[in-house]
């Protein structure tokens, strides 16, 4: 039993820790906070394992925990919003490096909801239906919000 948990943790961690970190970062815009999120999300996953009925994928379940945790953090008075250190951007993609730095700055100007939608849609490749299930927003609402977020992002990038 102990060994099973050990193996499951290792597998889930290897597969999803990176995306949990990115998702948390999209919401919290803080490297340290995003790092802590990964730890807390896995603890919560195992703590609430009995309530996980397997009616969604492990990824969706972990993303749901991540989302709840991050919004709790954002509500917390101790959370220092936008105290941002720039994240570790893997600079092996040299040609885009400048673009990524400025995109990082532009993202800081978006709110967490806008950053979240951009992350879920453009990076995680979620459909509107999946985003609706995760966030509880209607599909039409998501489309409009995402459109506004992109408009803003393009505007900030061209400034």
């Amino acid at each position: 039993m102990k060994n099973q948990q050990h193996i499951l943790l290792k597998e889930l961690y290897e597969e999803f820790s990176g995306d949990i970190y990115r998702y948390a970062f999209s919401l919290l815009r803080d490297e340290e906070e995003a790092k802590d999120s990964v730890h807390e999300v896995f603890l919560r996953y195992f703590k609430n394992m009995d309530s996980f009925r397997g009616d969604c994928s492990n990824k969706t379940w972990l993303f749901t925990i991540t989302r709840n945790y991050c919004f709790d953090r954002l509500k917390n008075k101790n959370f220092n919003h936008h105290k941002i250190d720039d994240p570790d951007i893997n600079d092996t993609y040299q040609p885009d490096f400048e673009m990524k730095i400025s995109l990082n700055d532009a993202c800081k100007k978006l709110n967490e909801e806008e950053n979240e939608l951009i992350f879920l849609r453009d990076y995680a490749g979620y459909s509107y239906k999946e985003i609706a299930e995760l966030t509880g927003y209607s599909r039409d609402n998501i489309k409009i919000k995402l459109f506004r977020a992109k408009q803003k992002l393009l505007k900030f990038l061209s400034e």
Binding site: K2, Q5, H6, L9, K10, Y13, S17, G18, Y21, R22, F25, S26, E31, K35, V38, H39, F42, L43, F46, K47, P87, D88, I89, N90, D91, T92, Y93, D96, M99, K100, L103, N104, C107, I118, F119, R121, D122, Y123, Y128, K143, L146, F147, K150, Q151, L153, L154, L157
Partner: protein, 156 residues
């Protein structure tokens, strides 16, 4: 905002039906402004993906797996301790309950024996002072009733 901006966004998101898509593409072919907008929306989608893909969980967080394992083990031990404590309390409770039930049972048996004895004695025609006997039977019954009431009110 160009009139077609939202449609172009939907085109990039793959959210137009084939008729709308064809109409828009025909327009874009002849409109440099829309072509420019399309290219910006296409490019930002790609850039977002690369941007998030390039965010790497910091090196030191890789040790987190070991820390997590230790913490989960600790939690498990704590819950095991709670479980053992709860089990001990329940077993203790059951023991006390069964002892009390035995006592009540024994007490009832004693009362029955006493009743039989009292009845035998009162029926005994050789009794020298029947009135006195009646009084003691009365007070004994009364005491038994009080005790039985107490037991009923405080089962343990």
């Amino acid at each position: 905002m160009h009139d077609n901006e939202y449609s172009i966004f939907k085109l990039v998101e793959g959210d137009l039906d084939s008729k709308e898509k064809l109409e828009l593409l025909n327009h874009i072919d002849n409109c440099p402004e829309c072509r420019e907008i399309l290219s910006r929306y296409n490019s930002i989608k790609g850039t977002d993906k690369t941007y998030y893909g390039s965010l790497i969980l910091p090196e030191d967080a890789q040790n987190d797996l070991t820390r997590l394992n230790t913490e989960l083990k600790k939690r498990k031990n704590i819950s095991l301790a709670y479980f053992s404590a709860a089990a001990a309390v329940i077993i203790g409770f059951i023991l006390v309950l069964s002892l009390s039930l035995n006592k009540v049972k024994q007490y009832n048996q004693n009362v029955e024996v006493k009743n039989v004895l009292v009845q035998n004695t009162t029926n005994n025609t050789l009794s020298p002072e029947p009135d006195k006997w009646d009084m003691s039977v009365y007070s004994l019954n009364r005491q038994i009733n009080i005790i039985m009431d107490n037991i009923a009110e405080n089962p343990l």
